[in-house]
């Protein structure tokens, strides 16, 4: 039965996409429902597999695909993939629900939801794939589907250019990943991840080259400075529900890649020389993202740059190569997904209500939109790392890891960098909701379909902050799978 549930996680969104494409215009009104059902099924599939994981099993599904080239079709769910696949499925569900209110039903709605589902399938497949060929296919499906969504439903003048930039830039990262995958495959002779789990033994030069290729390639997807250039434009132009999936779920895939490939295939000694570079990269990214958030005028870009900053925290945590760093980074990915989705939803509410996007033209909304103000407040306080909200726990662990690492001074700088985060987060909140209200600001009614998921996420942010226990336990299960199982 496990194979069935495993297949459901992936097959539900794929089938929904096919169904929506086949029904065409007829499905227009039900398109959102179909997509939500598929997202829910996907989530249920994961939850049903949890007991098996707790028992120490790893559900698998495998069959030969291109036997002459040793390529298999393999899916597998293990503790390493679980946090990421849960994040992906959860964000998809929320983004689809938010779309109900955000997306106007028109003659292309079925396509919109079908592509959202393909995007979700790409991410689910990326996390579940158990062979390199398949991994790369889903990795690119994710890119293709999201790029089409941006190109066709994006807002603004330069949609085509932004979509092309997004595709080319992230594809450049993909090529590095592809080269690294093929190198491992060529040495091992099998494209199954079993090779990685067994530990890959290669010449030191090749090992270093592989680690660099993987980390650089996945850093493009994580949008770490200076590989982030695609992110602000893509996140700003994309329709809000796509932005939520891009920012909350797809950025996590870069982290998953680093955890899955260099960190699971190689030992601590092999990865150690790159730890400091990762920490520095993360630190620079955290500071740069925060500064850009302070400097930006467009509310959507402010939150977009905040992702660059937050992914810097994650890379920093991974770079510490400590137990706390790994768990903290994984938790940070999950919490960041929740909080970033929440913040983008709040931005969506504000933009939909006012029709304005420049922060200088907004202000004093606290009185007229109290719910949005409270939800945003939860979001910005969380991202600023205020206890007891979600991101506090993971940030704490990442900072602690920084001080446990060999480079204490980097840890200290990281704590200082987080002050910038507090600055832009609070400025954003105060400016929009409590500053003087500019003249001529007319508010429109925002649909309940957009407000309800926002409130739900704000509540979740509180809950996860107070009760991080279960997630913490999940993240800890991945430790034996990392860096040669030293923990």
């Amino acid at each position: 039965m496990q194979t069935f549930e495993l297949a459901t996680i992936l097959a539900a969104p794929v089938m929904a996409a096919v169904l929506l494409a086949l029904l065409r215009g007829r499905a227009r009104r039900y398109a959102g429902w179909i997509a939500a059902c598929a997202a829910l099924l996907s989530m249920i599939g994961i939850l049903l597999l949890l007991p098996a994981l707790q028992r120490g099993e790893a559900p698998v599904l495998g069959m030969p695909w291109i036997p002459t080239a040793g390529i298999t079709f393999g899916l597998r769910l293990d503790w390493l993939a679980l946090p990421f696949v849960v994040t992906e499925a959860g964000v998809t569900l929320i983004a689809v629900l938010y779309s109900w209110g955000y997306h106007h039903v028109d003659e292309r709605s079925h396509l919109y939801y079908a592509l959202l589902m393909l995007f979700a399938a790409g991410m689910a497949g990326t996390t579940l794939a158990d062979s390199m060929f398949l991994f790369y296919i889903f990795w690119e499906l994710m890119l293709v589907a999201s790029c089409v969504l941006i190109a066709l439903w994006g807002e603004g003048e330069r949609v085509g250019a932004v979509a092309l930039k997004y595709f080319l830039f992230t594809h450049f990262g993909s090529i590095m990943v592809l080269a690294a995958l093929v190198l491992i495959y060529g040495q091992a002779g099998s494209d199954s991840f079993a090779v990685l789990r067994a530990g890959v033994r290669l010449s030191p030069a090749l090992t270093s080259a592989l680690i660099v290729l993987f980390i650089l390639g996945f850093s493009v997807k994580m949008a770490v400075f200076p590989l982030h250039l695609w992110l602000p434009d893509a996140h700003t132009v994309a329709p809000m529900s796509v932005t939520i999936m891009l920012a909350a779920a797809m950025l996590s895939m870069g982290t998953y890649g680093i955890v899955r490939f260099p960190f699971s295939a190689f030992t601590l000694e092999q990865v150690a020389p790159f730890g400091r570079a990762m920490m520095v990269g993360g630190l620079v990214s955290a500071i740069y993202g925060a500064l850009m958030s302070l400097a930006e005028q467009d509310v959507k870009r402010i939150i977009a740059y905040s992702s660059v900053s937050q992914m810097g925290y994650v890379l920093f945590g991974l770079g510490t190569l400590t137990e706390d760093g790994m768990v903290g980074s994984t938790l940070h990915v999950i919490f960041h997904a929740i909080v970033k989705a929440l913040l983008f939803m709040c931005v969506g509410l504000v933009v939909r209500a006012t029709g304005r996007r420049l922060i200088g033209e907004l202000g004093g909304l606290g009185r007229s939109m109290p719910l949005a103000a409270v939800c945003s407040g939860v979001g910005v306080l969380a991202i600023a790392g205020v206890p007891p909200l979600a991101l506090f726990d993971s940030e704490w662990m990442i900072f602690a890891a920084g001080f446990q690492s060999a480079h204490v001074w980097l840890g200290a700088l990281m704590v200082l960098a987080s002050l910038l985060t507090v600055a832009y987060a609070l400025w954003f909140w105060v400016r929009i909701f409590f500053a003087a209200r500019p003249d001529g600001l007319v508010l429109r009614q925002v649909s309940m379909g957009m407000i309800a998921p926002t409130v739900g996420l704000a509540f979740l942010t509180l809950v996860e902050g107070v009760l991080p226990g279960p997630l913490f336990a999940w993240a800890q299960h991945e430790l034996p799978l990392l860096l040669g199982g030293i923990w």
Partner: protein, 486 residues
């Protein structure tokens, strides 16, 4: 039935088909539809004997020889694969032509020419000696010149055909020149069982060089490619599909066959191919990037794609890796289907050739837009398309070599994939963007157009998603080519 006779059948069927097609058109005043179906069936029927030839377990026993008069046919696995691909695409293009080439006075010439084009191509790849190779190459080329200039009333068709004629004739003249040199050196024109020391003879070397330049013109090796964008860009779209999809790659196969057949050292041949391939893919992709006309863009993309095939085969020959050669031929098959499909799509938007004019296609002609996206996505190598599988198979081999040269060339290969996205994606994007101010009402394509598009699109997807049987079909190509050279 013995393999030798089977080898003669396809050419006999095509020769008869060409004559019959002309007679049917002339005597019965048959409509284009009847001719199209007749030619499609003829070409499809010619595949059957080719598929029927089974290669033996040993590479050399995979050869089938048939001599008819002074013509020697050699059915090596690669030739059988390339020939079958050409026949298959020709059959589909013929069906498509029924609604595309509609001038009633001209169809009686179009279909026989199409059959002769494929017959020449098939003869060229099956040729077992240089004489027959030249003969069939000329047959193919002459039909191609006429077909390029077929829409003689339209714009620069005559000019493009003439340019093609001049360049192509120079190529065939050099080919003939080289053949005479080779004959002087060894007194034999056979491409099989030549003594290895013959390649050391200066006359033979000069001959091989001339033959390579001659066939290089046909297969658009940079810098001998200059005729291609004009010819492929101006020809009727159905003809462009054939020229880009099969004619150019098959000329490349003939070039390969001559190289190994005349005992040119395989390792050096591979190195040469890899070096030339870099020129082809880089120039092809960069030039395609700056094109504003869709058909010229696709023509330059063919130059780049031939470069990818050369790269794969070159790596395979240089490092003795049959699976890389197999990957090259897989790419040849995929490219034939994808490029054929892309050109057939352009035929339905012929009123304006610019990229921007494709806006609004998704709304007006959803089938065409979908077919275009499938074919271009495949050419760009986006997973899970056939183009990606080919790229992966090539990379596995090329990255396994510890040599710096292999890594550098592989890097160029990967970079080229990235560059090519720069022109494929905007074209796909344009097709799916809403139309601009100039709203052009497009006629709904009939089933005659729809069936070939769906068939080719389905084929592209099938090759990509389930590559195993196709790869199995080509498994003999690599070992045969490698064994040939030793």
């Amino acid at each position: 039935m013995s393999g030798e006779l089977l080898l003669g059948f396809p050419l006999a069927i095509l020769a008869g088909g060409a004559v019959l097609a002309y007679l049917i058109a002339r005597l019965f005043r048959a409509s284009g539809d009847v001719l199209a179906v007749f030619v499609a069936v003829t070409l499809a029927a010619a595949i059957v004997p080719l598929i029927g030839i089974r290669a033996g377990p040993d590479a050399r026993s995979g050869w089938v020889l048939l001599s008819v008069g002074s013509v020697l046919l050699l059915g090596d696995p690669g030739a059988l694969v390339v020939g079958s691909i050409a026949l298959g695409l020709g059959s589909i293009v013929s069906l498509y032509s029924s609604r595309y080439v509609v001038d009633p006075d001209r169809v009686k010439l179009y279909y026989p020419l199409l059959v002769l084009l494929v017959a020449g191509l098939l003869g060229m790849v099956l040729a077992g000696d240089l004489f027959s190779l030249y003969l069939f190459c000329e047959l193919m080329s002459l039909s191609a010149y006429a077909l390029v200039a077929f829409q003689r009333g339209q714009g620069t068709a005559i000019e493009a055909g003439f340019k093609y004629l001049i360049a192509g004739s120079l190529g065939t003249a050099l080919l003939l020149f080289g053949i005479s040199f080779v004959y002087r050196a060894g007194g034999s024109l056979l491409l099989v069982s030549r003594p290895a020391e013959l390649a050391q003879d200066p006359w033979a070397r000069a001959g091989i060089a001339c033959i390579w330049v001659g066939l290089g013109v046909k297969s658009a090796l940079v810098p001998l490619h200059t005729w291609l964008p004009d010819a492929h860009g101006r020809a009727p779209s159905s003809v462009s599909a054939m020229l880009s999809g099969v004619v150019v790659p098959s000329a490349f196969y003939a070039l390969l066959k001559v190289g190994v057949g005349l005992s040119f050292p395989v390792g050096k041949l591979g190195g040469l191919l890899v070096g030339l391939s870099l020129l082809n893919m880089t120039l092809g992709n960069l030039m395609a990037l700056v094109q504003s006309e869709v058909k010229r863009l696709l023509a330059y993309s063919t130059i780049a794609q031939v470069g990818y095939m050369m790269f794969a085969v070159g790596i395979g020959l240089r490092y003795g890796a049959p699976d890389a050669i197999q990957a090259g031929f897989y790419l040849l098959l995929a490219h034939a289907a994808m490029k054929g499909l892309a050109f057939l799509c352009t035929g339905l938007r012929s009123s304006d050739a610019r990229v921007a004019a494709w806006r609004g296609t998704a709304r007006q002609l959803p089938l065409v837009a979908a077919a275009l996206a499938i074919s271009l996505g495949g050419l760009a190598g986006i997973p899970p398309s056939a183009g990606f599988v080919g790229k992966w198979l090539i990379l596995i081999r090329s990255l396994r070599q510890a040599e710096l040269w292999a890594l550098v060339t592989t890097f160029v290969f990967l970079l080229n994939g990235l560059i090519s996205l720069g022109y494929y994606l905007p074209l796909i994007g344009a097709a799916f963007r809403p139309a601009g101010s100039t709203h052009e009402a497009a006629a709904r394509p009939s089933a005659w157009i729809g069936v070939p598009l769906v068939a080719l699109g389905g084929l592209v997807l099938a090759i990509g998603i389930h590559p195993a049987p196709w790869l199995g079909w080509m498994s003999g190509v690599g070992p045969a080519l490698l064994a040939w050279g030793h």
